[in-house]
Amino acid sequence: MAEPLLKMQGVSKSFPGVTALSNVDFDLYPGEVHVLIGENGAGKSTLIKLLSGVYPTDEGRFVLDGQEVSIDSVRAAQEFGVATIYQEMNLIPELTVAQNILLGREPRKGGGLLVDADAARRQSAELLGSLGQHIDPDAQVKALSVPQQQMVEVAKALSMAARIVIFDEPTGTLAEKETAALFKTIRLLKAKGMGIIYISHRLEEIKEIGDRVTVLRDGHHIRTLSVAEASIDELIRLMVGRELKDQFPRRRQPRGEVALELSHVSLQGVLHDVSLTVHRGEIVGLSGLVGSGRTALARVIFGIDRPDSGEIRVLGRPARVDSPLTASKLGLAFLTEDRKALGLFQIRPVSDNIILAAIHRLFPRFWIDAGRERAVAQEFVTRLRIHTPSLNQLVQFLSGGNQQKVVLAKWLATRAKIFILDEPTRGIDVGAKLEIHRLMDELVAQGTPIVMISSEMPEILGMSDRIYVMKDGRIGGEFAHHEANQERILKCAVGG
């Protein structure tokens, strides 16, 4: 076997109050995709941040191509050939593709003072071409689609003569077709002899793209195995450290009457003649490619956008939902895709976040009774098992899973009668995912219907009683739980 490209030995890193990594070993061979998995807080992102030079190591050595190196800054890591592509795009939206790719390393002219824009354009086009992409180097990055932006990032990595490329949850916002394109690119990089470190929560992807997989838990290296010999169940067990039965809890009960009904809803350029029903006591899954209109539909139901035509009936009565305020009054709840930006008040305490949406219901006479506030907040913290040192803890310090529970608590406090969840478990570790699924199940068992938008096929197939598939703003197909499978849904989503 060839010499490893990278060897990390005995690496440890602590922050005030928490040990992020403890004596971790890791290696990477040229031409391999080494997947890194673990729950949130397991240490994956700390590991790659150490490798990228964002933090210095406390202990341990890095050996690159047989030479021990010290990675003490981002620039140093880049010089050693380490490139990282993060979940949050690290591009400058107002600048062009070429400017982004060569940022900080622009070709010069005029005695080194000016940027040689023509050379920059040429180099960028070459790099993108080698990835099979034809993106205009002069296009503004903000005008590109998400997968295109990702390609620009990969091109940027190539321009830095990277030998190790780290992908941090790259498929979070991608749909099936785009993920396939990304994997094709990764295979191209493999063929060039690069080493790829790939982090993902989507375990089914590991089988497709990975060669080896390393499991971290609580900052420790648990096991490294080849993908061929690993099973998903075993990986989950290694990640969580315990058996996880019933990945998708389902207590099915008979369907109730119609709670939400959309008839021929259209919105110029986004939704075309959408009709669907949601009954009490059921979970309706909304599947489809990114951009197929699922979130747009949710926004229309919740009153954020107003449709051009069509009718919406909430709990049997026609409703004109013209704002989130009206929607909330009608008993609708919407957990947005981006909980940090739109769902939470980061600098406010947990108790505040929980009562805010329901504030007028809880305190109708404008006066806030501190005792009642505390009691209500505590009730939800207990019921949903939200891990927080106190009710006053600022929400920004909670983990992703607990933050999502706070958002759920917020809407539960409003006694909403219909819930719309947009990617409810994105970016949440396996243990917390299960808890949220269980909470959804409890909710539905009490009769409250849920519309669940999800891009994770197992979640859609496992949790939904019925599935609508969207394509290009239309309903492409409808499946009951027993007749749904991955191929059929995909076919509908892609349009076959």
Binding site: N90, P93, L103, L114, V115
Partner: protein
């Protein structure tokens, strides 16, 4: 034909249209407005603001703000005047030291913001107080006059038939524009304003860069202070107070975004021209001095709206809100 109008429309941004519109209206209302000598007047009046606003542009491109420039300008002019009067230094040397002091103030602003991580409002606001206080102390709250008039050439002089301030501003504009659009450091400025984290990860020394930009803003305030001294031929600490807000207004009206990463010095020049033309025009037309302020406020709003939102969209939204389509967002 359609493409031509589209191109024309994109080249003529809102503020430019308003500017042209104003020139048209004032020319009709006052016979003295549309003349060469008046144009020269406007340029001279606007040049000080232009210089300060250029420095402010850089800071705002970083998604920052510099509230100290008005006071720093005053400090420079007072220092320069004092050095000429008390220490009998040559005017050029005195001016150089004055500008140096201004740059130092900017440097402190930058260091406190970049390395101590404070919101730029804070150090620049504190610097405003300190610079004003220092200027008052140096001048002992008096007006300084009677220094050699060498520097006046900066304001009153003419080269090749063009007023000196115009040449100064044009030269500075050219250099700064090229810097921003065509040099790595200029692009880095946009990068930091657009996505500071990404800029850092690309190897740009963000903290150093930000510090230098604030120092530059101080430097430009210093240069503007010297020009101001040349114009007024007297130094008084409080004379320049107000330029900080005017410079921010000029930058924003011109089209540079307060969020950073978008805009530039040529846009700022348009903003400056708009404000200066408005003031001059209102004067020419004989509008009550006090009423002028009202006009300025209204025009500022209009200029912003037409730059950043289509005027039609704004008016349509206004109509919708006032006369209500039944889609009201909130109920009692």
């Amino acid at each position: 034909m359609v493409r031509l109008t589209a191109k024309l429309r994109s080249a003529f941004s809102g503020p430019i249209i308003i500017c042209l519109g104003m020139i048209g209206v004032f020319s009709l209302l006052s016979e003295n407005f549309f003349s060469l000598s008046n144009a020269v007047n406007i340029i001279r009046q606007a040049s000080v603001l232009a210089l300060v606003a250029f420095g402010q542009t850089f800071v705002i491109l970083l998604a920052g703000i510099d509230l100290s420039v008005g006071a720093v300008m005053g400090l420079t002019s007072c220092v320069t005047a004092t050095l000429m009067l008390k220490a009998h230094l040559a005017p050029v040397l005195a001016a150089a030291i004055g500008v140096g002091v201004a740059a130092l103030c900017g440097l402190v602003n930058g260091l406190v913001h970049s390395f101590l991580g404070l919101n730029p409002f804070i150090p620049t606001f504190g610097m405003w107080g300190m610079a004003l206080g220092a200027a008052l102390i140096i001048t002992e709250e008096r007006v300084l006059t009677g220094f050699p008039a060498t520097l006046r050439v900066l304001h009153d002089g003419e080269f090749l038939g063009l007023p000196a301030p115009l040449l100064l501003v044009a030269a500075v504009l050219l250099v700064l524009h090229t810097f921003l659009k065509a040099t790595p450091h200029g692009i880095a400025t946009y990068a930091i304003g657009g996505n500071e984290g990404a800029a850092h990860l690309s190897g740009i020394r963000v903290r150093l860069h930000k510090t230098l930009v604030y120092a530059f803003s101080g430097f430009m305030a210093g240069v503007a202070g010297v020009l101001f001294l040349a114009r007024s031929n007297a130094a008084q600490a409080i004379d320049t107070i107000g330029y900080e807000f005017d410079s921010i207004a000029a930058v924003v009206v011109g089209g540079t975004s307060l969020m950073g990463g978008k805009g530039g010095v040529s846009q700022t020049l348009i903003g400056v021209t708009l404000i200066a033309t408005l003031r001059n025009g209102l004067n020419m037309v004989g509008v009550n001095l006090y009423l002028q302020l009202v006009f300025i406020g209204v025009v500022l709003i209009l200029a912003y709206v037409t730059e950043n939102q289509s005027l039609f969209h704004f008016l349509r939204e206004l109509k919708r809100r006032l006369f209500g389509a039944p889609t009201s967002a909130e109920e009692a």
